[in-house]
Amino acid sequence: MTTLGADDLDLVRRRVINVVGHELRTPLTTIRGLAELMSTASDEELRETLIPTLVRNARRAERLLDDLLIAGGVSTAHPVDAGTELDLEPLVAEAVAGTAVEVVGHPDGPVHARREKVSHALGHLVDNANRYCVSPPTLEFDSDAETITVILRTPVDSVVNNLELGFELFFRGEVAVTTSPGLGVGLPVARALARLDGGDVHIEQTDGVVVTRLTLPRPS
């Protein structure tokens, strides 16, 4: 196992702080700017148009905070509510809205999980698929007696090296680093969230397609 030196740790620390700054500033800029515009806007229609954007950016900032708490493994990130019976279909529809992901089929029954956590995990997995695909990814469902699985198939243009390293906190692959900003916590946070509900996330690649599986338990 490689041990990181003080310089390496300092580099990681600065990179994480920079990326957090970038990722937080975008929603905060939007929230502040739109809120100030709304406070003076006399056009009611404009105000109503801006409210969903405001809410979306507040949620984005909130999710980043959740990501950091989960990534840090601190106990405040753990849910206080219990899981419930949950239909995955509307959560999937919400997660893929505005992306290139095509949904195929329907889940074979509900799961037992926490709505916010599943929504958050799906958001990360769909975001990864949408960022790194070379043609539209597909999302389908599979099931067995105990679980329902959401399967995302993402066509990529070359073999992804060190795919499993994607589960390491703050790791970003070569393609990720060169194509889009990000914190490098999507996969580990999605897995941590799924595991809170007794589920899991797995990833593999075959023939130019990265396959990500989010498995969640059925209600007992």
């Binding site: 970038h22 739109l34 889009s180 900003p181």
Partner: protein, 131 residues
Amino acid sequence: MTSPRDIEVVVADDEMDIRLLLKLQLRQFGISVVGEASDGREAIDVCESTRPHVVVLDLLMPTMSGFEAIPELQERCPDVKIIAYSAVAGDFARTEMERHGIPLRLKNGDPEPLVAAIRELVDELDADRIG
């Protein structure tokens, strides 16, 4: 001299909500957004077709970043002034923008520093034309 109402800008940012915000904010100051782009490549194409006074250019974008777009923008659209508009502005961004002679403004929701920079650049354009 160009009046505030005549100022035309292109906004290049990969975040759709930031583009919306800038369009609304700049409109309040009588500045028109005549084109939008979500990466550096699009920014060059849109500037070539719309020939704005100024392009407000995000530095970190996918496909082609603002850093990468600047030399090509300066070559293909020499009459279009550039403002770098970034969520983070570390030493590298500051040094690079200084080297290119491009003003750098931080995204923070306050439109006034950006508007002031746009007006300064348009005044420079006017001065160049008169000179």
